[in-house]
Assembly symmetry: D2
Homo-oligomer: 408 residues x 4
């Protein structure tokens, strides 16, 4: 990619982060309801810290950080750069203030833009700028899911204004797409940007089977609930059943009953459940139990990648409508789809050297991959080979279910 294209991407992504924060109140930037969420202020600073630490400091001559202490504070998992603060206590970072963080963002962006447009940066550095924009896009989705989670604890739950859309559309009936047996190639081929964990491209053997043509809907999931799904241990993985018992789960996250009707909390406030929308905010345990109840199973990530189409060039969310709707694209833009595959390195995977090499490899344990993208995934951040990953019990992402079947 040329300098100009990178510069344009950089500006666009940074602008989109600002856009997401419009209309928020000062208190919204400090909320942290769980160790797995971070305050928005932290996201804003951390995505800036990334550019300073991996681009400006190593590649810009005579670069002197004006906030060397941010190095330590806004680090996340990069353990080689020093012990980060306890993740659960990020909400206690009273300083720098939000105002100082906004200034930090502007300063670093200015320096970076100058460095690219005037002085020139090495191709290696430009690649890291590009990586930084994709990193910030990941955090854009996290900002929305973290904020939603935190807001849901507020006794007076806030909501953003919602973009209007054409009226509700009924979901298509579910069909089964056959997947032939044989050796297939999966993984990113190195053309264009991809995260390191998407490669190397490699051969894999698929036993064959069928994939569902679209995600499971709320209506379908309600049938599982009505049939006692949450009370039937035989449907669940052992760790899943323990989790259901420990947390008292009886429905997906954000669902609640009001006058015998199901409602959901959304980023746009509380709304009646739309039975035709894809079921969302389920853990992999729930996805597995639902699939078992159906006599089906979850697809492997190789199956998913083999069956899925490439996303369209403009694939992305409807800005300002952060809630999955019925009738959209069957693969991208509504809900991430849990796979049955543990998140593990592809054959021949080698993490990059140095701290940036910790990016993905070190999480390759105890998590499952998810494929597709969600209503909160930024435009231009969707790929067929994209490997998202979360713990099987996580529910605060926009996560749903696609079914698979063995070959008869």
């Amino acid at each position: 990619m040329q300098d100009e294209a990178i510069l344009r991407r950089l500006k666009g992504v940074r602008q989109q982060t600002l856009h997401l924060c419009e209309g928020l109140q000062p208190e919204d930037f400090g909320l942290q309801a769980a160790e797995f969420t971070s305050p928005l202020k932290w996201h804003l600073a951390h995505t800036t810290w990334f550019f300073e630490t991996f681009v400006l400091t190593p590649y810009l001559n005579d670069y002197r950080s004006s906030h060397p202490e941010f190095q330590r504070i806004f680090n996340s998992y990069y353990q080689t750069l020093g012990q980060p603060l306890s993740r659960a206590q990020r909400h206690l970072q009273a300083r720098p203030t939000l105002e100082e963080v906004w200034r930090y963002r502007t300063d670093i962006l200015d320096t970076l833009q100058n460095a690219i447009s005037m002085d020139g940066l090495s191709p290696e550095a430009l690649n890291l700028v590009s990586l930084g924009t994709h990193h910030e896009q990941q955090h854009q989705e996290l900002m929305l899911t973290d904020l939603k989670y935190c807001w849901s604890f507020s006794p007076l739950p806030p909501g953003m204004p919602q973009a209007t859309r054409s009226g509700p559309i009924r979901q298509e009936p579910l069909e089964w797409q056959p997947l032939p047996e044989g050796v297939w190639e999966v993984g990113h081929d190195g053309n264009g940007f991809a995260f390191d964990n998407e490669g190397p491209r490699h051969r894999t053997y698929l036993a064959g089977g069928n994939l569902a043509s679209r995600p499971v809907t709320n209506r379908e999931y309600l049938a599982f609930m009505d049939d006692g799904g949450y009370e039937t241990p035989a449907l669940w993985l052992s760790d899943g059943w323990t989790t259901v018992q420990n947390h008292g789960w009886r429905s997906p996250l954000y669902w609640f009953l009001k006058d015998d009707q199901w409602w959901v909390y959304t980023l746009h406030g509380c709304q009646p459940l739309d039975p035709d929308a894809p079921v969302c905010h389920v853990s992999a345990y729930e996805a597995h139990a639902y699939a078992t109840w159906c006599g089906a199973r979850l697809p492997t990530e190789a199956e998913w990648e083999t069956a899925a189409p490439d996303p369209g060039p403009d694939q992305g969310p409807v800005n300002g409508d952060w809630h999955p709707r019925p009738g959209g694209d069957a693969w991208y833009g509504a809900v991430w789809q849990w796979t049955a595959s543990a998140y593990q390195p592809y054959p021949g995977f080698r993490p990059a050297g140095g701290a940036v090499g910790e990016y993905n490899g070190k999480f390759m344990c105890n998590q499952l991959t998810l494929r597709g993208s969600s209503c909160a995934t930024p435009a231009g951040h969707t790929r067929r080979t994209y490997r998202n990953f979360f713990y099987p019990g996580d529910r605060w992402q926009f996560t749903g279910i696609r079914l698979a079947q063995d070959k008869e």
Copy 2:
């Protein structure tokens, strides 16, 4: 007290709360580092809620709350008024915003002032207004101690500007004041305002002994530390030793070593330890262990009350200097002094009826009383009969040590 005096007190106390918040940043109002602290925003709203709930709603004709949901949100321990929110999650109250809380404060104060000056309030209601001002003063001290505790977690710890004072003064040598044996009267006699827990006035038998003329200093406490005080189990109460081990305590709260020198974190930032200042931020366990190490003991609250002078009329802190200093008054205005007395009802104590009666009585278990007042106690909130109370392991208040001895 007449209407006018109450009105003056009400205005003065509300004004002082505003004064405490001057210069703070938006993020400072949302911090909550532990279940035992509350965000400043909550304190601001809760002290307002008190007036609305106990004065306006029951005593003002046709009063209609414009925020009926605040009833539930800003309740604290008044269990009879409905299940309060989990205390530890107050920092997740994203709404109402700080701005809305400031408006709430203004609205309620306006209504209250009008009610007092124009319409008149019954003596019973005026007494509750008076109680509300003392309640708010209690929270003024908590606002400072909570903020200090939360700020201390920030990797870049903030500080307020500090009022200048005349230079350091050496503490007086410790002397022992005799306390004769016999039947004494203690407790509030009902003239002027007092909390319900300060009465009824009653007789008690004192075995006699001696009380120290001033609190223990940092220099004296360092001698205990240097002598292995924190490593000698025989000096400690059993629960105290467990607490020391569990938390790894090796000094009072907020102390830290830098280049082999002791420093303390204060509301005005980090400062070198002043050896002549009263030792502060110790638990009752540490106070007990120190006293045992000295061959002394802590006084009972009856001994303290019998020996102490009445506070002067202007007794109060030096505004803007929220840190105990050497050479001040020996009884009030520097550090609260732990007593050996469990916080229990005086003989004949009867809590008031209704929710306001939960004010103090329900805490009469597992806590110890403290006497005197601290550098953070508001002016006009100090009485000889005042019974402060905290759990023996609490350290985030401005708590220190006064010694006592048995009669020879």
Copy 3:
């Protein structure tokens, strides 16, 4: 006490410990259901360790322990003698075996008896032998309460055979005994054995009032339960209400409903609740809430001691009937009675020097005193001045309620 009397007491107490273990199974000696209970094997060894550590080792010339490692293993709270093992993991002491512990008991007793009868022991040492027998008696009661607690977790709960008694007797109606105001003397006067915490005898001022003539019965407590006692926060101390919510308490410990009838688990198996028996296995929180519901209060320990008669010389439990019955003595032998008094040192209290001085003093925080004795208290271990003490939330002892009232 002369040598012979001490020798007789020693033999009797040790014999009674054996007697308590008759009919138990090997697994009963290793059970530990909570940190606050200890396995019987540990009790058997610890009470023997006491004699070895405080009598044989310091006072017997040339005494060589044949198990020096027991010093460390069977220590309890005596922190000055080295870090004891984690209390909660005593059930993991696979060695020494029960058989070795029995042998240890025999060996130490033989040595001790020889030392007393043949060689002679100093009066100081004999006092410690005497203390050791009272210490063992304390553990006899704990052995029964710990075993009961552990057994109650067994899916097939065991029971001991029960001594027969004459049929059920109806409780006397509750009467109020007046208690005059004035200065009274309480505490042990030093004649005969007492624990250090029972003295010194001292004056105290009582405001006067009335004490109930007998403990509260199950029938009376059921009325409190039926009136929503466990669902009414205003009746409870704040820490009590938290405890009720956290543990889901809805009745005293060991109660359960079967076919709409209340049953209790006893050391003799499950039995229907006897409405006329004293209510038992309640915490101080429940005792306080019950008293508040009645418009009464709990007595102070000084009130109790002033009002109570001395126990008869043979006061003790009916061996083999470890369950409180209706119609017994109104002060001793059925249930310990919670007082409102925090467990604190009497004026002038000085703990003995050395490790044995840790005996009682270090627990004088966060606990309440109980007076009287229970159906599990050994004969000869009852005194009017006896101060038992537990945390207000403890329920596994045989603890009940006596009411008090203020003077009109």
Copy 4:
């Protein structure tokens, strides 16, 4: 397999369980140091319960259990058969006594033997008998690892007598065995016994690489430790590093330093570390970090199975020597070898119907597979296709490390 062969296997396995318990003390049967271990008494009963529940009850006409309550008590993960007891509280099952459990074992075995030899059992039932013997063999290994874990907490750690062996042997140098790229078949083919999770046999694509010829030794692992392995976060998976920090791991389990020498606690007591023996009692996190430090990786289970030889017919442990030794078989009988593969169903896997179908499938999440067998695996329980599985942080099994490399 014919009736006679099954009968012989049944007798042999049951006899071996008795053999393992020889010389143990009564207290050894009740120990439970963690939720993941069970008391020996429970293992003895549970392996008997299996035969009663899955063979006698459904297949024997007129069979009446003499202990119907054991159904509930000795159930483990079979949630469809009713809520099992809390796993962590199995040590509180005071009844049935050990003696009663021995009798239960004898009774069920007698009934079973009679049923097989005299009355005949259907082939389906005989298959379940066979499954029961393999199930009991799994528990034989767990009995040893659980006992070792519990004993290690005892302040006086016990040990079994150890069978003598020929003197220490130096390990062979490590060599790399090539593994060709291509489509391979793995999984059990259905001839002879296998657990359901070992099949179906299926094709898989291997990228090729090299496998180490033998497990990693203590000497090699010590080099990793000496090089700061436990202090270098970049070597660790994220969850692994968290685990290391939380538990303070600085060496494999059971290692301790004495006079600057490494010792290990073994089932035969404490012994100096043998540098030539395979490293044992490491978690998958440690195995991964070690491999990363070497520039290697862990093998996938398909790689392992493709490279490994079949075990010899008599493959099994040296009875009475439950500790890995140098110089043994390079694949079986010393330590289980962690693989990089998440424990997941093979393509086309279908769990059996009913409760017995919960056997393996429900654990297929969050665990990793291990291959080979250990010094504690019973003779006749070893297969090339055997899939053992544990959580990556588990260390109490006899678990070690085999390295793999990508193709150059």
